[in-house]
């Protein structure tokens, strides 16, 4: 067979495309976390009562926590099958930097799981009675915050993918690390609802995103290499 050199950029897009195609053929993996997201939010009115004012007050927290849990729940699928069938091994053995390939996988995963969630979030926010200003900021913070969740979460998955019953451990590992994103994300939305300045929190969230974008792929690659050794 002739040796063909594929550029890293090409490999990056090939992986994204492959993951998107795989998910479209197994759509339940995208839909289930979304249903979970909706269900968690629906539980709140039952738990705290249908008082519109109360629901409005807690709407930010409810949407953010539900988004966080849903994104955590969907994480497992990011490396699991590729780990089981050996694709991951091939990726690590390839000539391209593992961190870049891993970033492609995380990006594809974000497109598949977080993006639908962001699209759905305003509808649920309206159902909880959130203000319009809040909804705009909610969309913005989710847009910046969910990639951070995916990146941090992928580190956790990379650490636990080779373990039996890794799911519970995964949540124990990554939920503490999710807290800053939750604080700045929901803080910005709360400020927006109160009519306060939101720039500070958005900038912090963006800073977390840049930080995670740089460091997380390195950690993911290192963890995957240990998982496969």
């Amino acid at each position: 067979m002739a040796k063909t050199r594929v550029s890293t950029r090409k490999a990056f897009s090939v992986i994204i495309w492959r993951d998107l195609m795989l998910s479209i053929r197994h759509p339940s993996e995208i839909i289930n976390p979304l249903l979970f997201f909706i269900m968690v939010i629906i539980l709140y009115p039952f738990a705290v009562g249908s008082d519109a004012k109360l629901l409005m007050e807690i709407s930010t927290g409810v949407v953010w926590v539900a988004a966080l849990l849903a994104s955590m729940l969907s994480l497992d699928s990011i490396f699991k099958e590729d780990f089981a069938d050996g694709t991951l091994e091939e990726m690590i053995l390839s000539a391209h930097p593992t961190s870049i390939l891993v970033l492609a996988k995380v990006f594809a995963h974000w497109l598949l799981t977080a993006l639908p969630l962001i699209i759905l979030a305003p509808i649920l926010a309206v159902m909880l009675g959130m203000h319009d200003d809040g909804i705009v900021v909610l969309l913005l913070t989710l847009l910046i915050g969910t990639p951070v969740l995916s990146l941090i979460g992928a580190i956790g998955v990379a650490l636990t993918v080779s373990l039996r019953g890794g799911g519970v451990i995964l949540s124990l590992l990554i939920l503490p690390l999710y807290i800053p994103v939750l604080i700045f994300g929901s803080g910005a939305v709360n400020n927006a609802i109160l009519g306060l300045d939101v720039q500070g929190q958005i900038y912090m969230l963006a800073a977390l995103f840049v930080l995670a974008l740089f460091f997380a792929p390195l950690a993911i690659a290192a963890a995957l290499k240990i998982s496969l050794s």
């Binding site: 373990l163 590992l173 503490p176 803080g187 460091f215 290192a222």
Partner: protein, 262 residues
């Protein structure tokens, strides 16, 4: 200039060979065994002095009365909780970069002690909070950050215990600890800003400790005492762990199996 460079090279070489020698398992086992009783003695001595000084000799606080005395356990424990995490992060970096076995072992032996100190800091803080703030728990920045630290420690256990091969487990844990150490300042500041946004009925008393010298000395003595306790216990755990992991090595057999004479 060139002399300086040579000097530096020799220095590095000497340091490196010292590190390698000290970090070789049998050497560490022997040295730590010799050092342990000394640390134990310092621990007990400073503990007695610190407790008497803190609980009996130190003057009563004009505002908080005698209940401030829990500071002598609470503050050193809180310091240790962070100090041990930093030690673990350092070990994690060393273990991942230079593959030094001992760093793995120190890291994993430190984790339970760090978790215990975190739990003590939280529990004593809560007990102190009841008479001072009128509530067991406030979602204050420091309290919340410390609670998250506890969960980071627990996550380390969970991960380590879930992996069958201990060496792989240690390497996983090293990565997790390093990710956590990046996150600790972020968590710390985010929680602080978050809590100042919705300021609760909290009075953070430690920010500028204008503390009397008679109160300060026992506190520092207690801090030394806790450090020595950490070193003593960490040595015990590390030595046991070392024997377990190296159970096939010659030096362990030589050490533990009685010679043919008896």
């Amino acid at each position: 200039m060139s002399i300086y460079i040579i000097d530096k090279k020799i220095m590095i070489k000497a340091t490196w060979s010292f590190i390698q020698k000290f970090s070789s398992p049998p050497h560490f086992y022997r040295i730590s065994g010799k050092m342990q009783p000394w640390f134990m003695a310092i621990f007990i001595g400073t503990l007695i002095y610190g407790l008497i000084g803190g609980l009996y000799l130190a003057p009563t606080d004009y505002q908080q009365g005698d209940s401030f005395r829990i500071i002598y356990v609470h503050v050193p424990a809180a310091w240790m909780s962070m100090f041990i995490y930093m030690v673990m992060a350092f070990c994690a970096a060393v273990a991942l970069i230079w593959r030094i076995k001992l760093a793995d072992i120190v890291l994993i032996s430190s984790a339970p002690i760090g978790a215990m100190f975190t739990a003590i800091a939280l529990a004593t803080g809560s007990i102190w909070g009841k008479p001072m703030w009128g509530t067991w728990w406030v979602w204050d920045a420091r309290l919340t950050a410390e609670l998250i630290l506890l969960f980071l420690y627990l996550g380390i256990f969970a991960l380590y215990n879930a992996v069958e091969d201990k060496r792989t487990g240690s390497r996983f844990v090293s990565i997790l600890v390093l990710v956590g150490v990046v996150n600790i300042p972020i968590i710390h500041y985010s929680v602080e800003w978050w809590a100042t946004l919705h300021q609760g009925p909290t009075v953070t008393k430690f920010d500028k400790p204008s503390i009397h010298i008679d109160m300060l000395i026992p506190l520092l003595v207690m801090a030394i005492s806790f450090k020595c306790y950490y070193i003593t216990t960490m040595f015990s755990r590390a030595r046991t762990e070392l024997l377990e992991r190296e159970s096939n090595a010659k030096w362990v057999t030589k050490l533990l199996v009685p010679t043919k004479a008896d």
